[in-house]
Symmetry: C2
C-alpha cells in the first residue's frame, strides 16, 4: 500500500466543523487504499494567542519555555483530529513530535531536524492506524522540547515524507495551488500544474503564503515531491518537483510582486577595494537581510551603491548605513520606500534567450521606468515605481502569455 | 538547603495577574534559602474547556487521545510560570510529567504512578533552578502520555515530595486550611493547625474541596507531611501528618456534612446467606459506589436492607436494585433523597468513651431524629432528615466545643 504524508495548516483545523471536514477527507483517502501519516498545525490562531499570552508575562520570554508553551498547540490538534477520525470508524493514533522521535538541534524556537526515528510510526501504521503527528516540534537528544520556527509544520511533513519514503507529501492550504501570478493582480492568472523547487524558491512572494522556503529547500535536497492542495475543494493542486523536460519547455512559469521592500542608496562611495564589504558586514552584524545589491560605477573616483531591504528593517538599516557611510567617506544616504520588485521566473530561461528583452520591452510599452535590475539563472527582477508594480506584473504576465487560454 | 515541594491549583494560576502573584511567592520562598520543586495545574478551567471541546468532536473520545489533549493544560501553566519567575530574576526550568520521568501504568485518564526517575529534577535543582513540574500527568514505559485523573496534581506533588525526600509538601488552594466544620454552616468554625491523615480521609466533605483523598492516602502511606495553605493570603494553614500525642488529646477534630447522598431501602429481603452479596455485586458491576450500609433484622424471616449512594447515581442504582430485589425475592424498593449525613471525626475517640452518646444527645436535644448510624474507629456518622443537616452540624460542633474560644 502506498504511503502518503499529508499536512493540514492551522486554518484547515480552525474549528470543530473544519476538523471534522479534514477527518472526512483523510478517511476517504485511507479507504481508497493508502497508508497515511498526517501532520497538523495548531488550531487557527492558537500559536499567536500563546505568544501574546507569554509576552504579557515576560516581554522577552526564554526560548526554551516558549517551545514548552507553543508545542501544546499542535498537541491539542492531533488529539482532536484523532478523535474525529475515530468518530468516523477508522483507527488513528496521535503523537507529539518528541514521541515520534523527531530529533533536533538545541536551538529553541528555530531548531533544525537532525534525525527522525521512524520505528514508532511504522509500528502504528503496521497496526492499521492513520498516524497523526504534531507538526512544528521535536526534541533534543537531551529530551528538551523544541519547535522548528515558522513553516515548521511543512518541514515536519516534508522530512517525514523523506524518511518514510512516502510516495508524496501533500500540503493542504486555503489556496488551490500556485499561480502564474497573484490572481488579485492578474484575474486571468493560471494555476500551475507543476513547478520546480528552484522556481518556487524564486517565486517566494507567490509561494510564501503557501509554503515556507525552508521546506521547499528540504524537499529539493531529498527530492520529495510536494503537492500543494486546497483543504476544502477538490483539484490536483500544484506539484513541486525537480526540473523535468516539460518544465523546460515553458520559458516563464510565473511573475511575482514584492511591495515590502525599500531601496537604500549610498551616494559617492569612494571607489577602492573593500568598501562594499565594510558596509555589508555592518548590515549583517545588525542581522539585516539585504536582497538586491546594485553598484554601477559612473564616475572615475566614486560610485553609487544601492540595495533593497525589507521595509520593516528600514529604520535600523538607515542608522547602520549612515554610520558606515561616514566611516568609508561616502557623501550621503538616501532611501525610497515607494518601490516595487517584479520578478519573472522560469527554468526554461536557461535555454531560451530573449526573456530579458521581452520583459523590459513589456515595461517600456507601458512607460514603466526600471530603477534596478538583478538577474539569476532562472529569474529576472526589476525594481519599478511602487505605484506601477501591479501594472508591471500584468504587463509581463500578458507579454509571456501566462493567462488562461 | 531544605527542599520543599509546592503545588498550586488551577484557580491559583487562573490568569496572568495570579501567575505573577504565585511567581512572587515562589521567589520569596527561594530567597529565604529553600530549594523548590513546584507542581502546577492547568490554568483556571482549561481542563473542563478541553473536555467540552473533545466531546463536541466525539461523545466518547478514546481515553488515550483525551490524555494527549488534557496534558497540554499543565504544560501551558509550567511554561508561563517559569517565564514569570525569570521576569523576577530567578532561574527556573519547566518540565512535563513525561520529561521528569513520572512513570505510570497504562490506564489512561486515571493512571497510577509506578515510579519517578528523579535524575533530571535533581540535576536542575543542582544548577540552582526552581523546578516547575506539570501536575496530573506522566508516561507509560512505552512512552504514551497518561493523566492521573481528578486530584492528579496533588498526587504528583505528594509523590514528588516522597521520592525527593522533601521536608514538606505544600498544597496551595483558595482556602486557609481545613476547618472544624464548614464555616458557612458554623460561623465560629476554627481552622485546624494539624490533622491526621486518617481524620482528613474521614472528613472527606471538609477536605474534598481542598485535597483529593488519593493524595492523602499516598501521603499517609509514605508519611509525607502535607500542608494546606491559601495561595494569596499568609498563614500557617493546616498540617496533615501522622497521628501524634497532641492530636489524641483532642477528642473530636471536626464535623462534616454530606448532602449529596440518597438512601435506598430494599424491604423484606429474605433472611438467608448470600443475599446481600448478590445485591452489592450487581451495584459494583454497575460501577456504583455505596457508602453506608445498614441491615437490621427485625422479623424472623426477612429483613430491611438500607444503603446510601451519591444522588447522581440514584437513577442507575434504582434500576439495578429493583432487578436485584426481584432476583432475590424481596418485597419492594424505596428511596429517600431528602437525607443528610453528619460525621463526627477525631483520632482521640479511640481513647475517649462517650463520643457517641454525646453526639446522639446533641441531636436529641434539638429533636433531630437519627435514621441511620454507622461508626468507624475514629468516626461516627448519622443520617438525618435533609432539612436538619446543617442544624445537626451546628449542634454537634457546639456540643464538643469546637468553635473559636
Amino acid at each position: 500500500m502506498k504511503l502518503i504524508v499529508q499536512k493540514y495548516g492551522g486554518s484547515s483545523v480552525a474549528d470543530v466543523a473544519r476538523i471534522e471536514r479534514v477527518a472526512k477527507r483523510i478517511v476517504a483517502r485511507k479507504r481508497r487504499g493508502f497508508r497515511l501519516v498526517v501532520v497538523v498545525s495548531a488550531l487557527g490562531d492558537t500559536t499567536d494567542e500563546l505568544i501574546a499570552l507569554a509576552r504579557k508575562i515576560c516581554p522577552e520570554p526564554e526560548e526554551r519555555e516558549m517551545d514548552m508553551l507553543l508545542s501544546t498547540g499542535e498537541q491539542v490538534s492531533v488529539a482532536l483530529l484523532a478523535m474525529a477520525i475515530h468518530r468516523l470508524g477508522e483507527k488513528a493514533v496521535s503523537f507529539t513530535g518528541p514521541q515520534v522521535g523527531i530529533i533536533t538541534d538545541q536551538f529553541h524556537t528555530k531548531a533544525r531536524i537532525l534525525d527522525i526515528n521512524t520505528e514508532r510510526i511504522r509500528k502504528a501504521l503496521g497496526q492499521g492506524n492513520i498516524v497523526i503527528v504534531a507538526g512544528f516540534q521535536g526534541k533534543t537528544l537531551g529530551g528538551e522540547i523544541t519547535t522548528l520556527g515558522r513553516g515548521g509544520s511543512d518541514l515536519t511533513a516534508v522530512a517525514l515524507a523523506k524518511v518514510l519514503k512516502a510516495k508524496a507529501c501533500e500540503i493542504y492550504t486555503d489556496v488551490d495551488g500556485i499561480y502564474t501570478a497573484d490572481p488579485r493582480i492578474c484575474p486571468d492568472a493560471r494555476k500551475l500544474d507543476q513547478v520546480s523547487y528552484d522556481e518556487i524558491l524564486e517565486l517566494a512572494s507567490l509561494g510564501a503564503k503557501v509554503m515556507h522556503s525552508r521546506s521547499v529547500e528540504v524537499g529539493k535536497k531529498f527530492n520529495v515531491p510536494i503537492r500543494v492542495l486546497h483543504s476544502r475543494r477538490n483539484g490536483e493542486g500544484t506539484l513541486i518537483t525537480k526540473e523535468n523536460r516539460k518544465m523546460e519547455e515553458v520559458v516563464v512559469s510565473g511573475v511575482a510582486l514584492n511591495e515590502e521592500e525599500a531601496k537604500v542608496t549610498i551616494f559617492k562611495v569612494p571607489d577602492r577595494p573593500g568598501v562594499a564589504a565594510k558596509v555589508f558586514k555592518r548590515l549583517a552584524d545588525a542581522n539585516i537581510n539585504v536582497d538586491m545589491i546594485i553598484q554601477n560605477k559612473t564616475e572615475t573616483k566614486s560610485t553609487d551603491l544601492s540595495f533593497t531591504v525589507s521595509k520593516s528593517d528600514l529604520p535600523k538599516t538607515l542608522r547602520v548605513v549612515r554610520e558606515a557611510a561616514r566611516a568609508v567617506g561616502a557623501a550621503h544616504v538616501g532611501c525610497d520606500e515607494n518601490i516595487a520588485k517584479v520578478s519573472v521566473v522560469g527554468v526554461g530561461m536557461r535555454s531560451h534567450s530573449g526573456v530579458a528583452s521581452k520583459t523590459f520591452g513589456a515595461l517600456a510599452k507601458r512607460k514603466i521606468n526600471i530603477e534596478m535590475i538583478s538577474t539569476s539563472e532562472i529569474k529576472i527582477s526589476c525594481v519599478v515605481d511602487g505605484k506601477k508594480g501591479k501594472e508591471a506584473v500584468r504587463a509581463i504576465h500578458k507579454e509571456f502569455g501566462l493567462g488562461k487560454k
